[in-house]
């Protein structure tokens, strides 16, 4: 070993790998929603105070802070409240671009959720479009949103803006 050392300069990077594994507990209300998906159904919950129906419900009304105890079976159709067309490729992308990502307000629900829109050219998507869920084959249903393959236009006339303006 030489007595002479060259100063390599300050350390500017330090890699400290971290990995933690967690269990996930969906809870009572979300478990009901997930079990509904396993049967090919959208199951929500109604707040007894304000009457709003949440899907998926997390077990409480975020406005009133009370438990949501009444289960509500929702229909298979809903309204596109807003959307975007994805044109940017990213790692792990499983759908061919361009595709449509939309907020969908199921009939009877007061909370929209995100869904994939297919079977329509991307330049024809619009706010208010009426859509329906297309499910995977019965044998492939699982307690997961993966049970919904996508949403597609259901052929009904567009919804009136007044019916969904609260949910944008």
């Amino acid at each position: 070993m030489s007595d002479e050392t060259t100063d390599p300069g300050p350390v500017t990077t330090l890699a400290t790998p971290i990995r933690l594994d967690f269990e996930f507990t969906p809870g009572v209300a979300q478990s009901k929603f997930l079990r509904g998906l396993e049967r090919g159904e959208f199951l929500g919950q109604r707040c007894a105070t304000c009457g709003k129906v949440y899907v998926p419900s997390r077990g409480s009304c975020p406005t009133d802070g009370v438990p949501t105890t009444e289960d509500v079976l929702l229909g298979n159709s809903g309204t596109v409240t807003t959307y975007c067309v994805v044109n940017v490729p990213f790692a792990g992308q499983s759908i061919e671009i361009p595709y449509i990502c939309a907020q969908i307000l199921l009939d009877g629900a007061n909370l929209s959720f995100m869904g994939l829109i297919q079977e329509i050219p991307t330049d024809q998507i619009r706010m208010g479009m009426r859509v329906e869920a297309v499910w995977v084959d019965e044998a492939e249903l699982t307690p997961s949103l993966a049970s919904v393959r996508y949403f597609r236009p259901n052929g009904e006339p567009d919804a009136d803006y007044e019916t969904y303006k609260e949910y944008l």
Partner: protein, 359 residues
């Protein structure tokens, strides 16, 4: 009253509630676990969410393994119409401190404080490693039990404690917990029998470790007219302080707790007789260190609730100490009490709250 120089606005612990403390709550999510606690803490004094002006919570995303869990937890309260809200990535005792400071300013008269955490969702030993210095300590993954064992060893080597002392504390705590229906570990086992336990990490045997606990807790603070209206026997906070020591474990004398001693001095613990102390000591030997730092004599009843050795819901165990101490005063069992909360490895950060009864 407190010996501190600054003027303290009287603030009352108007209500306290805690969940059943359990090893694993794998049925309910965080919101579902919190809702009954929030409902109870309001229901105790017949108020609603609309009666509090400020909300502060204590929790950590590291327990659930997901971001912004504290934002989602607000669904358990129902923050509509919108109001001032805050969160600390700390035990709820520090959330209580923040609310107390706000009440000191005199702009508001009531606050809800809550905390929650499920320690069962991940490997707690690994999770707690991430609270260490990220460059020199955390990459070695020293677990919390081993670090606490180092502290216990230092205490023994200094001639300040024996393993029998640890067993004595554990035995007493879990025997006292027999009268606490919310506690998780409740039994009556003699210290001599406990000493037959195997070491988990020497010199700590199984009994000297806290249980792994899922739980939640909440307190309503009140000042002014609301304090009088909501409690027939108000429990007043007469001193409150928290202090922190260096991050570097090697730079600390682990047999002492200067941060507790300083907080106790500022909170005015020595200004009067202490009847009851609720000490947040997750590991048995830490009770000895904190007790000494608080300057408590042998007449003080320590941890009648069973303390953290009987139930240690992370992020709530400190807030529960304050709630339990307040309940002793409200029930007339104590006139003056000290509550303590700790955070970080080996008692790095400590909070001291002095409570007194009176009109």
């Amino acid at each position: 009253m407190s010996a501190t120089a600054r003027a303290v606005r009287p603030v009352s612990i108007a209500s306290f509630a805690q969940s059943q403390n359990v090893r694993k709550d794998d049925e309910r999510n965080e919101v579902e676990g919190l809702m009954p606690v929030i409902s109870e803490v309001f229901g105790n004094i017949g108020i609603t969410k609309d009666d509090v002006d400020f909300i502060c919570s204590g929790s950590t995303d590291y327990l659930i393994g997901g971001p912004f869990s504290f934002v989602m937890a607000l669904d358990a309260v129902g923050v509509w119409p919108p109001r001032s809200e805050s969160h600390v990535e700390m035990d709820g005792a520090w959330a209580l401190y923040e609310a107390w400071v706000l009440l000191q300013e005199g702009e508001i008269d009531a606050a809800l404080v809550y905390s929650f955490g499920r320690s069962s969702l991940g490997d707690l030993n690994e999770i707690l490693t991430l609270q260490l210095d990220p460059y020199y300590e955390a990459p070695l993954w020293p677990d919390i039990v081993s670090l606490s064992a180092l502290q216990a060893r230092a205490l023994i080597d200094a001639g300040q404690a024996t393993e029998a002392d640890f067993a004595e504390i554990a035995s007493r705590s879990r025997r006292d917990a027999l009268s606490n229906p919310k506690a998780q570990v409740r039994n009556d086992i003699a210290p001599e029998v406990l000493l037959e336990d195997d070491y988990v990490v020497a010199p700590l045997r199984r009994h000297a470790l806290p249980p792994i606990t899922d739980g939640a807790a909440a307190i309503v603070l009140a000042a002014g007219d609301k304090a009088a209206a909501w409690s027939e026997r108000p429990v007043w906070i007469t001193g409150f302080d928290h202090r922190m020591e260096t991050h570097s474990l090697g730079a600390r004398d682990l047999t002492t707790s200067p941060s507790t001693a300083k907080a106790a001095e500022v909170a005015g613990v020595a200004a009067g007789k202490v009847d009851v102390a609720e000490i947040h000591a997750p590991f048995a030997h830490q009770e000895l260190i904190v007790r000494r730092a608080l300057g408590l004599d042998d007449s003080v009843v320590v941890n009648p609730s069973g303390g953290a050795l009987a139930a240690n819901p992370l992020m709530s165990a400190g807030l529960i100490r304050i709630g339990e101490a307040a309940e002793r005063i409200r029930s007339g069992q104590a006139g003056r009490a000290v509550a303590h909360a700790t955070s970080g490895p080996c008692l790095q950060q400590n909070l001291v709250c002095v409570l007194e009864g009176g009109a």
